[in-house]
C-alpha cells in the first residue's frame, strides 16, 4: 500500500512515547544532545499520571538528617526490593537522585523548605531517614509542570492525545511507531532511529486501583509484541491506603505522607494493629511503643519509626488480615487517623491542612470527611508495577536494538517491592539516562526502512472493530478482566485461582477478537477502550504466568500456598517473552550479581 496516502508521516531521530516524568526528562536530555525529538502522549501535556503523585521524591541529600547519604539509600532500596533489584540501577539511582532533584530547582521547581533554607525532606515507609523532597502533597504536579515548562523551550515536537498501537521493526532493530490521534481518529506513522518507551503503569487491569485511565500497560505490551523481554511482572504493588468509600472513589490514593506526618492505623476495636506483626528484617528499625513512634515523626534522631511506616507490601497485608478477621471498618477498610495529633501539637488542624492540603480537600469534597477531626476509611489499592520492560542497567536499552524504556514501564530498580518516593526519582534519573543513550544510538545509526506491509496489517487490526457486526462491548470485556485480576491474581494468590485466571484471560481474548464499536472515529471512547484492552490482556497474562512460576512469597507477591520466602527463589528474576509460535514463555534468569563493595555496604547497614 502507499503509506503516505493512509497515514500522516513524521520523522525524528528519537521518538519518546509518554509525557510523564520519565518521558519528559528523556526528551529534554535527547534534545540537549542535539537530535530531533518527538514526544507522543495519550492525554494533554501535563496531565500524565505523574501529575497525581503526592508524597515526594526520594533523594539522599541529607538536608534534614545529615546521617543520610547514597549508601543508606542504596541499601534501603535493596532491602525494600528483597534483593531482586538490579544493583547497578539501585546504586546509580541512589547516587544520582540528589543532583537530579537540584536540577529541577534550576528549572523552576519550588520545593518546601527547611528552616535554614534548603529543600525539605519527609519520612516515608522503608526509608531510614527523612528523604523525600516534596511540595505539600502535590509533588507530582510540581515535577511534571517543571519538566513541561522547561521542555517546551528545548525544541521537541509534542503530539498530544495520540495513541501508539504498535512498534515497527526492520531487520531486528526499531524503525518507528504506528498509532492514531484520538481527536480525529486519523492514522500516524512516526519514523525514528530510536524509540523510548515511557508509558507508565498498568493498574487499570485491576478493579480497584489508584491509576488513571492511562495506566493500561501499553508500553509493556508494545515491547512484548516487538520481541522485548518483560521482567518481574508478578510484582504488582498494592498500596495499603486507598479510599474505600463512597464506591465511586474506591481506590483513589491516600498518600503515605499521611502516615509520614503522624497518621496511625487502627482497627474497629481502636487498636494500632501494626505493632502486632513486625517482620524480622525490620525489627531493629521499628519503634517499640507509640510514644517512640511519635518522637520519630517529630524528628527525634534517637527514635525509631512507627510500624505504620513499614514497607507497603507488609502494611497492605496487615490491613487485609484485619478486615478478613472481622475487625475492619463499615465499608471494608481500616481507620487511618491523623486528627489525633491534636493531642500532641497546637494548631493541629492548620498543620494538617498545610502539610496535606489535597488530602484534606479530597476527603472533604469526595467523602464528606474532615480529616482534621474525623478518621478516614482506607484499604489496599492496585498502585504500581515493579515489573516491566527488561533493560540494560547502564543504558536503559531493551534487547531490541534502538528500543529504550524508562520510568514505571521499565523494570529492575525496585525488585520485589518499590519504596514510596523511589518512583519519582526513578523517572528523572533513568529518564535522563534513556534520553542520553537513545540520542547516542540515533547519532550512530541511519534510519531503518519501514515495512509498508507491516503498517498495513497494523492499520487493519486497528480499524477492525468498526467493521465488525458482533455485539461484544469493549467496556464489558474490560470490566470482566478487572474482576479476574482483582479476584484471582490480587493481594493473596494461589495456584488454582491463577490457573483459573489464565483460562478466563484466554476466553476474554476470544471475546476481545469480536469487539465491535459504533459511531464516528473522533474521540470515540469505545474504540479507545478496545485498543487498551488488547494491551491489558497481554500484560495480565504475563503477570499471572510469572506469579504462578514464582512459588514463594516475597515483596509484593503473597502466595497462600507458598507463604514463605525461599533462598532458591531469591536467586532469579522471571522473564516473559513471546516465543516463535506466538505463545508466551516464562523463564528464569539469574539476578544481576551484587559487587563485593555493594555486599559490604548491605552488610554494614543491615
Amino acid at each position: 500500500m502507499n503509506i503516505a496516502e493512509r497515514c500522516t508521516i513524521h520523522e525524528h531521530d528519537v521518538v519518546v512515547i509518554g509525557a510523564g516524568g520519565a518521558g519528559l526528562r528523556a526528551a529534554i536530555e535527547a534534545s540537549a544532545a542535539g537530535v530531533s525529538v518527538g514526544v507522543i502522549c495519550k492525554s494533554l501535556l501535563g496531565k500524565a499520571h505523574t501529575v497525581m503523585a503526592e508524597g515526594g521524591m526520594a533523594a539522599a541529600m541529607g538536608n534534614v538528617d545529615d546521617r543520610d547519604n547514597w549508601e543508606v539509600h542504596f541499601t534501603d532500596t535493596m532491602r525494600g526490593g528483597q534483593y531482586l533489584n538490579n544493583p547497578i540501577m539501585a546504586e546509580r539511582h541512589a547516587r544520582e537522585a540528589p543532583a537530579r532533584v537540584r536540577e529541577l530547582e534550576s528549572w523552576g521547581a519550588v520545593f518546601d523548605r527547611t528552616k535554614d533554607g534548603k529543600i525539605l525532606q519527609r519520612n516515608f515507609g522503608g526509608h531510614r531517614y527523612p528523604r523525600l523532597a516534596h511540595v505539600g502533597d502535590r509533588t507530582g504536579l510540581e515535577l511534571i509542570r517543571t519538566l513541561q515548562d522547561h521542555g517546551i523551550h528545548q525544541g521537541m515536537e509534542v503530539f498530544m492525545e495520540m495513541t501508539v498501537v504498535a512498534l515497527l521493526k526492520s531487520g531486528g532493530r526499531i524503525a518507528g511507531a504506528f498509532g492514531y490521534d484520538r481527536e480525529r481518529g486519523r492514522l500516524h506513522l512516526w519514523k525514528a532511529k530510536a524509540v523510548i518507551l515511557a508509558t507508565g503503569g498498568l493498574g487499570k487491569a485491576f478493579r480497584i486501583t489508584s491509576n488513571s485511565w492511562e495506566g493500561t500497560g501499553d508500553g509493556q505490551s508494545l515491547a512484548y509484541h516487538a520481541g522485548a523481554e518483560l521482567l518481574d511482572m508478578e510484582f504488582v504493588q498494592f498500596h495499603p491506603t486507598g479510599m474505600v468509600w463512597p464506591p465511586s472513589v474506591r481506590g483513589i490514593l491516600v498518600t503515605e505522607g499521611v502516615r509520614g506526618e503522624g497518621g496511625v492505623l487502627r482497627n474497629s476495636e481502636g487498636k494500632r494493629f501494626m505493632f502486632d506483626d513486625v517482620p524480622e528484617a525490620y525489627r531493629a528499625q521499628v519503634a517499640t511503643d507509640e510514644e517512640e513512634g511519635w518522637r520519630y515523626v517529630c524528628g527525634d534522631k534517637n527514635a525509631l519509626r512507627p510500624p505504620e511506616l513499614l514497607t507497603r507490601d507488609h502494611v497492605a497485608r496487615c490491613i487485609n488480615r484485619e478486615v478478613k478477621a472481622g475487625r475492619g471498618s463499615p465499608h471494608g477498610g481500616v481507620y487511618l487517623d491523623i486528627g489525633w495529633i491534636k493531642e500532641k501539637i497546637p494548631n493541629a488542624s492548620e498543620h494538617i491542612k498545610r502539610k496535606l492540603p489535597s488530602m484534606y480537600h479530597q476527603f472533604k469534597q469526595l467523602a464528606g470527611v474532615d480529616i482534621t477531626t474525623e478518621r478516614m476509611e482506607v484499604g489496599p489499592t492496585t498502585h504500581y508495577s515493579m515489573g516491566g520492560v527488561a533493560v540494560d542497567g547502564e543504558t536503559q536499552e531493551s534487547c531490541v536494538p534502538g528500543l529504550f524504556a524508562a520510568g514505571e514501564v521499565g523494570a529492575g530498580l525496585h525488585g520485589a517491592n518499590r519504596l514510596g518516593g523511589n518512583s519519582l526519582s526513578d523517572l528523572i534519573v533513568f529518564g535522563k539516562l534513556a534520553g542520553e543513550h537513545a540520542a547516542k544510538f540515533a547519532k550512530s545509526h541511519t534510519p531503518a526502512e519501514v515495512d509498508s506491509a507491516e503498517v498495513e496489517a497494523q492499520a487493519r487490526a486497528l480499524e477492525a472493530p468498526f467493521e465488525r457486526s458482533g455485539s461484544e462491548n469493549p467496556f464489558a470485556v474490560h470490566y470482566a478482566l478487572q474482576d479476574v485480576m482483582q479476584d484471582l491474581v490480587g493481594i493473596v494468590r494461589t495456584q488454582s485461582e491463577m490457573e483459573q485466571a489464565l483460562g478466563k484471560i484466554a476466553e476474554l481474548n476470544a471475546r476481545h477478537a469480536k469487539v465491535a464499536v459504533s459511531g464516528h472515529r473522533e474521540y470515540n471512547p469505545g474504540w479507545h477502550t478496545a485498543v487498551d484492552v488488547h494491551c491489558m490482556l497481554t500484560i495480565s497474562e504475563a503477570i499471572t504466568r510469572c506469579a504462578l512460576e514464582r512459588k514463594e512469597s516475597r515483596g509484593a507477591q503473597f502466595r497462600e500456598d507458598y507463604p514463605q520466602k525461599t533462598a532458591e527463589c531469591g536467586t532469579f528474576n522471571l522473564i516473559a517473552k513471546k516465543a516463535a509460535d506466538g505463545s508466551m514463555e516464562v523463564r528464569r534468569r539469574a539476578v544481576v550479581p551484587t559487587s563485593a563493595a555493594q555486599k559490604a555496604l548491605i552488610e554494614k547497614l543491615k
Binding site: 496531565k47 501529575v51 523552576g108 481527536e183 488513571s212 468509600w245 474525623e374 464499536v517 470515540n524
Partner: protein
Amino acid sequence: MSSTPSGSLPNPTRRVEFDVWRGDSAGGEFKTYGVDVAEGMVVLDCIHKIQAEQANDLAVRWNCKAGKCGSCSAEINGQPKLMCMTRMDTLPQGQRVTVEPMRSFPSIRDLVTDVSWNFRVKKKIKPFKPRKPDNADGSWTMYQADVDRVQEFRKCIECFLCQDVCHVLRDHHKHDEFIGPRFLMYTAMLEMNPLDTENRVADLKDHDGIGYCNIGKCCTKVCPEHIGITDNAIIPMKERVVDEFYDPITRLFRMFKPRAS
C-alpha cells in the same frame, strides 16, 4: 475520639435526568439520559455510566478523577466546574442536570474542546531564568516565607476554567491580544520567584494585554485550587506595570540604569 465517616451500608439509588451536549464544531444539541445515582457519585461518574451503558461514543476528557490533573472541565448547570469534583448531592435535588463543554474554546466533540491555544500562549512567555546557584552543590538558599506566594500559584492544575469564564476571552474573543488569567498568574509566578532574573513587565503591558483585565474576579471565583488569581497575581502585576512605565521617577531611573539581571 474521632467519629466514623458518615454513610449507610446499602447504597440506594435515585434517578436523575441528564441533558448532555452532543455535537462537534458544526453544531449540536442536548440529548437526555437517565442515570441511577448512588451515594457519593460525582458528575463524571454519571457521564461514564452513560458512556458505558447508553452512548459508547460519548466523548469526554478526564484523567485522575481526583481533582489533580485539570482535564475534566465542563459547564455543569451553566457553572464552570471539574466534573470529577462535583458531587451529585451538591446539585439541586429533584432537578435535571445539564452538562456542556467549556464555551470559550472551540468544540471538538461532545464535552471535549480544543484548548491548544493555551499551550501556544504559554510557549510565548519568557521562561524561568535563575540567578547563579548560591551554593557549591548547585543549590540555592530560599526560605519558606519567600516561596509561599509562588507555591500558591504553582498549585494551578491548568484546568482552564478561569480562561473559560473570563469575559475578555469568552465574550470579546481577545485571544490574540490577551493571555487570560491563567497566564497572567503564570507570569506573576515567574516574576515573583526569588531566583528569577528575567523581566516580563513590558510584555505584560504590550503583548499580554494585562490592561484588558477589569479585575472583576470571575476567574478567582471558579478556580478549583482557590488561587487568589486577581488579588495575589494580577493586581500586583498591574502595579508593576504602572511602576515601571507610568511612574515618572521610575521612568527617569530606568533611563539611566537599566534593570539589573
